[in-house]
């Protein structure tokens, strides 16, 4: 079985959970004997259209093609990134998505594969074109929809249309949670029988490395302080503004707490300003986007992890926190809550309840330990092998 897979990002070139998910899934597919040819738009230093990156594992081939399609990009950001009159890039995000789709035809013609699997909207058109050229079945994998990204704001009609067309032309639609499946049914009018829920997982072996606590954090902890952690893009969907508000409430009761935001994003400036306005600057640490060991260190140092997402189709970060022995508090609606029971849940807008729970976690080591103990046990069942098995079952049904 060979799968032609279209994505947006792949570690170490990732800025969010999608890359982590693609890595986890492809590795688990490889373990099941499935060959994956992973196509990735990426701004390359080389002046070539695409190149094959071969991994040590021969069943995974990464194919990068030169593009400005960076993950989580908006149309405005694309124009900014392109700069003035940059010769080789398309004029707009829309055109670049189309260019990706056109280039995918060449790949589809030249490579051998049995199934096409496309992750999220930037790659859907590429998937559709590949299907048209090769006649092979298409699976689209929805990790987030436009409705998650924009919150209550106006959606981009273009993005919505691409998502809908992808789902229409697909032979199977994979949703990362029941939460996302409902959105796909309600907002995109996809018949339920065409949608399968495949929950993400986590590879615990990735996170078990012993790491040293960063010196600055270590000093804070030695002085008797606790760390409350936010990991994620600083963007509306992830609720960083609620994190700041809950911090203010927590500090009324537990003054020896520091709040760490690990991530970057379009709301970063706004959040930093808000923290300053509340005079909490000396209580906040902004680490910027972290990956690998740096991210592990921050997890390890944390006493509590919060995911106050406004809309969260899945949310892998809480699972990562658990692998590091950190108890979690997550939005009630998050997709991950469908598979993770040993976590605290809140409504993202309920600042008081969030503070109530975080303070309880900080005050009672017994609560933290019991949560972690059971969550780690539960995590053994939330792994990529299960997700990969479901995908293979779907491929075989095509």
């Amino acid at each position: 079985m060979r799968v032609l897979m279209f994505g947006w990002e792949f570690p170490p070139f990732n800025s969010g959970g999608l890359g982590t998910a693609c890595l986890g899934l492809t590795r688990a597919l490889a373990r099941l004997g499935v060959d994956v040819l992973f196509v990735l738009p990426k701004k390359l230093a080389l002046d070539v259209d695409h190149c094959k990156i071969l991994f040590a594992d021969p069943s995974l081939t990464l194919l990068s093609f030169n593009s400005l399609l960076v993950p989580y990009i908006s149309a405005e950001e694309y124009v900014q990134l392109r700069g003035k009159g940059a010769g080789r890039w398309s004029h707009s995000l829309q055109e670049e998505v189309v260019r990706y789709a056109l280039l995918s035809r060449d790949i589809a013609r030249n490579e051998h594969f049995d199934v096409i699997h496309a992750h999220d909207w930037l790659s859907f058109m590429a998937g559709i074109e590949a299907k048209r050229v090769s006649g092979k079945p298409l699976v689209v994998h929805v990790h987030a929809t436009e409705f998650d990204r924009v919150g209550p704001g106006p959606i981009s009609q273009f993005v919505y249309e691409v998502e809908r067309r992808g789902m229409d032309e697909a032979d199977w639609v994979i949703a990362v949670s029941e939460f996302t499946k409902r959105i796909i049914v309600d907002r995109y009018r996809v018949p339920e029988r065409k949608i399968q829920v495949v929950h993400n997982g986590v590879d615990e072996s990735d996170y078990l490395k012993e790491t040293a606590t960063p010196e600055v954090v270590k000093r804070l902890k030695d002085e008797g302080n606790s760390i409350v952690l936010f990991v994620g893009r600083i963007t509306l969907q992830k609720g960083p503004d609620y994190f700041v508000r809950v911090a203010e409430r927590i500090l009324e009761f537990e003054p020896n707490v520091y709040f760490v935001i690990a991530g970057s994003g379009d709301m970063e400036g706004k959040i930093i300003e808000e923290v300053a306005r509340l005079r909490l600057t000396d209580r906040f640490i902004f680490t910027g986007f972290l990956r690998g060991d740096d991210l592990h260190k921050v997890y390890r140092a944390a006493d509590v992890y919060i995911m106050p997402s406004v809309s969260e189709p899945f949310g892998i970060a809480p699972l990562e926190a658990i692998t590091h022995g950190v108890p979690t508090l997550i939005s009630r609606e998050a997709g991950v809550a469908e598979v993770l029971t040993h976590t605290l849940r809140v409504d993202f807008w309920d600042i008081d309840e969030m503070a109530n729970k975080v303070v309880a976690l900080l005050r009672h080591p017994e609560l933290r330990k019991t949560l972690c103990l059971h969550a780690r046990e539960e995590l053994k069942r939330i792994n990529w092998n299960e997700a990969a098995k479901k995908c293979v079952m779907l491929y075989n049904e095509l």
């Binding site: 009761f253 029971t341 040993h342 605290l344 849940r345 008081d352 309840e353 503070a355 109530n356 729970k357 303070v359 309880a360 005050r363 009672h364 017994e366 609560l367 330990k369 019991t370 949560l371 103990l373 059971h374 539960e378």
Partner: protein
Amino acid sequence: MPAVCFYFQVHQPMRIKHYRLFDIGVDRDYFGERGEGNLNNERVLRKVANKCYLPANRLLLSLLHRHPEFKVSFSLSGVFLDAARQYLPELIFSFQQLVETGRVELLAETYYHSLSFLYSTDEFRQQVEKHRRLIEELFGVKPRVFRNTELIYNNEIAREAESLGFEALLAEGADHILEWRSPNFLYRPVGGRAIKILLKNYRLSDDLAFRFGERSWKEYPLTASKFAEWLTGHNGSSDVINLFMDYETFGEHQWEETGIFEFLVALPGELLSRRDNFFVTPGEAAARWEPVGELDVPHYVSWADIERDLSAWQSNEMQRKALESLYALEGAVLARQDLALLEDWRRLQTSDHFYYMCTKWFADGDVHKYFNPYESPYDAFISYMNVLHDMRLRLREAERRDEHHIAIKRPAAERQ
């Protein structure tokens, strides 16, 4: 000639409301949830009374009238009786009617349905005494048989029950304490003088309590004649078959639609129509039969969960912390002689609070989840610990008041 001994446990805890960080020091009404959910104690009591207690009591009363040989026994927890007196006095009346027939025995237990025996013998004795007084006041009878919370039992509890003057006590007929022996006889505890143990026949009891309405069970549907046949089958090899269960089995755990009430209506007649069958209450059983052997139970057993040990209340760190923190306040609470404070502290001892914090099997959505009015065991723990925090504040306030009191009194005394 097997006798059948029915014992029903009737208990409702005073559940703690969603008590948050912000309520500490402000809100002292820990049990006063008024909303729609299952933390509203009045609402739950009314619901269970309508589904179970009232219709089942009516039914038992008519059975007692119809069959002069029929007998049952109950234990009614003090917290349950308090709630009934406050919210639903007709419920007390309906139990009084049953007891007045003279064929309904009431058993003794800890007033607060507590785990006090595990933490404080003094407190345990106080609660047993308080419960005895309440039963006497409401029903005019003096219990002679003891059952500890959730049938928690070991050698020491038997000794303690004997020293308190009880003639018998109930325990779970768990396989690991009985080994090859039958639960259908009376036993003598190690070190006991005259006190006797009645053991629950858990297979036959659980056929009603857990399996009755289960369609996948191979014996489904269980009819009264079939069950009477099973019981009669013990003829010649048993003294007494003890059917011990939650009273809520009737109409609440097994819904009315399962036919559990029809079953109960038909059962006494079916049993009595077969040769040699009769009914006894626990006190009568103790008076009638001698123990057939000695039972050595050094470790605790209970009737909870498949483990039948203390793990339903003590298996994780949250539960142990909550229990330790609660009983650590004992000396300070008693020293205050503040009745409201004492009452709250005792209501916090009810075993259900710790059961709600149990994380065993939580993810599998089993019975713990079914009985849990909180979103998770963690939520139960958080509200509980916030309440204890407030209790400590109250104790400190009271201490300070006392100091103040002494400080202003002293000059007056000196003037004299």
